[in-house]
Amino acid sequence: MKALFSLVVVAVVVLLTVLAVSTSGGRTFFGTILPFAAIAIFLVGMIYRVVYWARSPVPFKITTTCGQQQSLSWIKNNNLEAPRNFLGVLGRMALEVFFFRSLFRNTKAELKSGPRLVYGDARWLWLAGLAFHWSFLVVFIRHFKFFVEPVPGWISIMQELDGFFQIGLPIFYITDGILLAAITFLFLRRVFNPQLRYLSLAGDYFPLFLIGALAISGVIMRYTTLRVDITDVKLLATGIVTLNPVVPESLGAVFFVHLTMLSVLLLYFPFSKLVHMAGVFMSPTRNMANDNRVRRHVNPWNHPVKTHSYEEWEDEFRDVMKAADMPLEKDVESK
């Protein structure tokens, strides 16, 4: 149901775009106003979100330790899993952000007869997640060629590597295939795993369909007869960036669908779970060292609480303590 709903929303947006861009007003809206607004809202929204998080302090150092702590000199500390210093934290975060370290641990528990709980390998999620994010990044960077003139050398090199296998004409980019395959896996997993389907929200399917439509429209433009004139795309893109909008005549409906999917993605980003892109850097269980007993962590709101002082305690139990011959601070006769 939730998946269907998300699919319908994406389809409606696609349809609206296709219908609207047959008019010149529609072309201006979907070609300039919407993308521009989307970029602005994305930037402002993400900054707002990060500031919103940062406004709350981190009262306690609650590192999750996934390896041996630093203690005695002859016990080897695992600085990447239980960081003893900033370098370790940096390494841990890098592994987490670039290689999804924690997801790499993933297992699948199965209850067999006996009863016997067995833990199988379940790294498909890790692989698909990693493939999706990395290929999306490469595809995104490849698009820089539409914004900058001249195209930097490293982008050209990356592009050549991406087309390394020289399949087809125009040359097939590996990342296009990986991106679509990964996103398909992530979608199917969500639908066919009963637990996952049970806990999924519409907001979990929506970005998958959105990115799917984004990728498919891009693939159509690159590999089919519906190709677009790259110089015209460049004209439009630089127009948006330089606040000097132009919508070239040659750009067709598929291009506008592609651009709209991107715009909706950017619009949706700061208000959705996609903020994990920034949030992962701010997770207190990962971005702090396990040096609690070495460096005191300060809690800015550490307010006083009512305690039971030794004096009050001794006052209450002085008689029994005296009878038991225990040391006392004030050896007074009780009433």
């Binding site: 979100r49 919103y52 998080w53 709350s56 981190v58 009262p59 306690f60 609650i62 999750t64 330790t65 041996q68 702590q69 203690s71 005695l72 924690s102 993933n106 528990a109 209850l111 016997r116 709980l117 833990y119 997640g129 795993n193 009963p194 637990q195 996952l196 049970y198 806990l199 999924s200 929200l201 519409a202 907001g203 979990d204 779970k273 903020v275 994990h276 992962v280 997770s283 207190p284 269980t285 990962r286 396990n290 609690n292 007993r293 070495v294 460096r295 005191r296 809690n299 609480v305 009512k306 305690t307 002082s309 030794y310 305690w313 001794e314 139990f317 029994v320 038991a324 225990m326 040391p327």
Partner: protein
């Protein structure tokens, strides 16, 4: 509670299929065996808790205060402002499901609301509705829902079906920590008077007398004195166990169960033997006679109120530093919270072992050292003589307690102690130890009789791993370093793997420890001590000729 207890065969067949209805439409089922009784009003009042009243979870009407919604929502807003963790964890979950089958309660019950992600959604759905734009506009479509009495009942059920063990946080790609969410959930529940008794009453007792059963100072002294007498009977050695001794070098703090519960008690005997044998200048405290902190299970304020005694007592007694016994949640508080909450401990000195001269640099701010760190340093420096064969009657495996594992990274120190104290040690499968260790299923204040079924379910993954090494290697002893483990693993194993017993690491140390002048034929439990008769002569000569220097590899 006298209701009939479930059979292992029944609990072993778990149905993992989620219901057909959306989880928001499935009402919480308050069923005996799966929840905890409400707080005793007298003890809640003693702690000045809000909205104290007589109620029980089985009541239809929980007699919530009139403005309960306002209290909860304002409380949530307040905590969002105080904890970045809460804000970030509310916002960034992508529901990838990696955590789902990592929770022992989900594995043992199949209840989808025990998947960490859904447990968090219970709170997140309310957060979305009142604190996010999408939730305000789209409502249920965005995963938001209003705060109703049914939501509160659901929170009560599931935030007390989480042991704050943090296993899910190891697997989460963003490190989302369900313990943090459960702690916030419990604070909110407590703010409208919905606490459970096995947290409130021990907290009140700790606050008043210093330990969680409410034993008064003279009773505490009796227990320690009794242990000293008993130890003399077993070993022939009379040890000293000073209490509230001013000017001692070290204050020793351990969970109170060590001196009144079994099998904790044998670990206490082990400590006493060890401290005597190395001639440690230390003291117990009757005022700070509980390191275990039931406040952690209640609220950060309660944690701070109870924990304050440790530093206060160290200051009053004028000790140099503090040594901590075997306890799980206690060590989460000591390692991650104490210095921040009740520090800085600038009146103490950086811990240095008076026996080996080792400076414990890793504890230089908090000034508190774990007994396993302390003992493994003694062993490494050859300061104690251990006869492994005295533990030959046991085949040991080690249960990493959740908090020393995932909130400290204390893995190799206890293993080093065990390795030097016994000949037969076998690890459980790697997915069930170290940072991936499974909880006993009864931590964080839910180890009650009325919650028996849920405890057996939650402890099933742990017990099943014990079963594996029992079947494969004949393991008959599960060593651990946590008071809650020692209290709740015995009934868990009795239920699932009755052939295996539970002990502390320092019980093994105590059994293996060769003491000067000892005459013993039994171990600390009164069982015949393996190998002691044939070795008695050799031991005497070592002790007589060489009191200090002993070889490293005993």
């Amino acid at each position: 509670m006298a209701e009939s207890k479930p059979k292992p065969e029944k609990l072993a067949s778990v149905d993992y299929r989620p219901p057909s209805k959306s989880w928001m439409d499935v009402p919480p089922e308050i069923r005996l065996g799966t929840f905890n009784w409400a707080a005793n009003p007298a003890n809640a009042k003693y702690l000045d808790l809000p909205h104290v009243r007589k109620w029980q979870p089985t009541d239809e009407d929980w007699k919530l205060p009139d403005n309960w919604q306002q209290i909860v929502l304002e409380g949530l807003a307040d905590r969002l402002q105080k904890y970045r963790s809460l804000k970030v964890f509310m916002d960034i979950c992508v529901r990838c499901g990696a955590c789902a089958d990592k929770c022992h309660f989900f594995l043992g019950s199949g209840d989808p609301k025990n998947m960490p992600v859904l447990r968090a959604e219970l709170l997140r759905s309310v957060y979305r509705r009142d604190f996010t734009t999408a939730g305000k506009i789209l409502g249920k479509l965005a995963g938001a829902r209003p705060l109703t009495p049914q939501v509160i009942k659901e929170w009560f059920l599931y935030f007390y079906q989480c042991t704050e063990c943090r296993r899910c946080s190891v697997f989460c790609p963003y490190g989302i920590d369900t313990a943090e969410i459960t702690m916030m959930g419990r604070e909110l529940l407590n703010s409208i008077g919905l606490g459970i008794d096995w947290i409130t009453t021990p907290a009140a007792n700790c606050f008043r007398t210093g330990n969680h059963l409410g034993i008064q100072p003279h009773g505490f002294k009796d227990s320690i004195d009794f242990a000293v007498d008993e130890l003399e009977e077993i070993t022939g050695v009379r040890v000293e166990a000073p209490i509230n001794k001013k000017g001692a070098e070290i204050l020793f703090v351990s969970p109170s169960a060590d001196y009144f519960a079994s099998p904790h008690y044998y670990t206490l005997l082990g400590y006493l033997q060890l401290f005597h044998e190395i001639g440690l200048d230390y003291t117990w405290s009757a005022y700070a006679s509980e390191g275990g902190n039931f406040g952690l299970f209640h609220s950060s304020d309660m944690m701070k109120r109870l924990n304050a005694k440790v530093y206060a007592e160290a200051k009053r007694l004028g000790v140099k530093w503090i040594l901590g016994g075997e306890c799980g949640h206690m060590w989460r508080v000591l390692h991650q919270y104490m210095d921040t909450m009740n520090g800085p401990a600038d009146f103490l000195e950086q811990p240095v072992s008076p026996i080996t001269g080792t400076r414990f640099d890793h504890a230089r701010s908090t000034k508190m050292v774990h007994i396993c760190e302390f003992t493994s340093d003694l062993i490494a420096n050859g300061k104690i003589k251990l006869d492994k064969s005295r533990n030959d009657n046991v085949k040991v495996t080690f249960h990493d307690s959740c908090n020393p594992a995932r909130a400290m990274g204390l893995f190799d120190e206890p293993r080093y102690c065990i390795d030097h104290a016994c000949n037969h040690f076998y690890e459980m499968p790697e997915n069930t130890i170290r940072e991936q260790t499974f909880c006993c299923g009864s931590g964080s204040g839910i180890g009650t009789d009325e919650n028996f079924e849920m405890r057996m379910r939650g402890g099933f993954p742990r017990a099943n791993a014990v079963q594996y090494v029992h079947d494969k290697h004949g393991v008959n002893m599960l060593a651990c370093i946590c008071a809650i483990d020692k209290a709740t693993l015995p009934p868990l194993l009795e239920f699932w793997v009755p052939e295996v017993e539970v002990c502390g690491v320092h019980e093994l140390i105590g059994n293996a420890l060769i003491m000067k002048g000892e005459t013993r034929t039994t171990d600390l439990r009164g069982e015949p001590l393996p190998g002691v008769a044939e070795e008695a002569d050799a031991t005497d000569s070592v002790a007589a000729s060489d009191g200090e220097e002993v070889s490293k590899d005993v």
